[in-house]
């Protein structure tokens, strides 16, 4: 029988998350973020967190909620600052920020999950991202050595998941979630729809359950849209 990963609720899912830990959180902007777990982190009041996440949310949603409570000590991201509180904390030195090229961030998370401790990439060579990093030429082109990222907890959001922790994401809400799911010592998945074993086609799963330690059905998803761009009907 499959190994079951279901926990009852977000409280149980987040058990063991403590101050000073390193967390990975999936999502791109506000798309595909683990809303339920972020709310629970606010409730738990853990602080001094290092958060690895492509972005940092907005003032009143996503990781912005943790920033409001000054729960984050360090952000490791590719693009931040869609919110004022972030800017204030960063400029005042309260918040440490490590900016990483987006592709290197994605690959470093994957590497962390895949047991690849380091790899060479051209991204960032000759810039401040490359400072202090080993440079090597391949095919006449300079590359820098980047190292793997892992986390005490990886927290991801999927569309559907089954009891074995197998996950399917929807559209571009996939983004960083699959790599982060691989890179957590403990990976928590919150899903919009939790289904019994055998309901997902084994051929259509994006994240195999082996990477997931806890799964629960989230609720009250707001799924806020950051830039609502539309064209008029006519």
């Amino acid at each position: 029988m499959a190994i079951k990963k279901v926990v009852a609720n977000v409280e149980e899912a987040c058990r063991g998350i403590e101050s000073s830990m390193t967390l990975m959180l999936g999502g791109f902007g506000l798309c595909g973020i683990p809303e339920n777990c972020i709310s629970q982190l606010v409730k738990l009041g853990v602080n001094d967190l290092t958060c690895i996440s492509n972005n940092a949310g907005v003032d009143d949603f996503g990781l912005g909620l943790l920033l409001q409570g000054r729960q984050i000590r360090k952000m490791i991201s590719s693009y931040v600052g869609e919110n004022d509180e972030f800017e204030r904390q960063m400029l005042s030195g309260e918040l440490e920020v490590d900016l990483i090229p987006q592709g290197s961030l994605a690959e470093r998370c994957r590497a962390g999950g895949a047991g690849i401790p380091a790899f060479f990439t051209p991204a960032g060579y000759g810039t401040e991202v490359g400072e202090g990093k080993e440079v090597r030429m391949f095919d006449g082109k300079p590359h820098i050595l980047e190292s793997a990222l892992t986390a005490d907890f990886a927290i991801v959001k999927a569309w559907k998941g089954d009891e074995a922790g197998n996950l399917i994401y929807r559209a571009t809400a996939r983004n960083f979630n699959p790599m982060m799911a691989m890179a957590g010592k403990i990976t928590i998945a919150e899903v919009e729809e939790l289904v019994p074993l055998g309901e997902l086609d084994p051929n259509e799963i994006h994240t195999p359950g082996i990477f997931v330690q806890r799964i629960f059905q989230g609720n009250s998803y707001e799924k806020r849209i950051e830039q609502r761009t539309v064209r008029p009907r006519n």
Binding site: F28, G29, L30, C31, G32, N54, S77, S78, Y79, V80, G81, E82, E87, M90, L91, V97, L99, P101, Q102, G103, S104, L105, A106, E107, C109, R110, T121, P122, A123, G124, Y125, G126, T127, E128, V129, W159, Y169, R170, A171, T172, A173, R174, N175, F176, N177, P178, M179, H206, K223, R224, I225, E226, Q227, R228, T229, V230, R231, P232, R233
Partner: protein
Amino acid sequence: MLDKNGIAQRIAQELQDGYYVNLGIGIPTLVANYIPENINVEFQSENGVLGMGPFPFEGDENADLINAGKQTITTMPGAVFFDSATSFAMIRGQHVQLTVLGAMEVSQNGDIANWKIPGKMVKGMGGAMDLVASAENIIVAMMHTNKAGESKLLADCTLPLTGVGCVKKVVTNLATLDIKDGAFHLLERAPGVSVEEIVQATAGKLIVPPHVPEMQL
């Protein structure tokens, strides 16, 4: 002189049938409005979609379907979703044929600075460093000068770099220029712009051929 749409329109002439294209935020996004007839190109957005279509009709927005600018979008038949590692595998592995990016500064050896102004709030490089480090074919879309009237085409960039020696072509409101052999090479004047104006607005080394045609838009 071109406006932003004009710059986008000129860059769209560089599109070729079968190109996969990554468009940065700002002027580059407008390039999608000027795809030449009879060619098929596909737009890659680094957050994980190939085959982007137009914005959705009002009421059809899907929070799970956005582009790298976090705007709600739609997809075309044949579209595909993928994760961020796969997305940058496409970019780093040179499967994307053309990248169009904005810039704050470009140098005569092809360096680009477009992500950070010291002393100001830093928002991050997003995918720009991966894009410029890997793309074979990068076109910069920008104004020729900044708001203070200073040239953005320099001998050396003064701002923190995004990438080194990677830009091959620049389209501005004044001109189309190639970058090679450590210099800007003037290819075309924008409509109504004189060579003299371009020379005045270019701080880096500029090679001006005897005849400089006007852009055809």
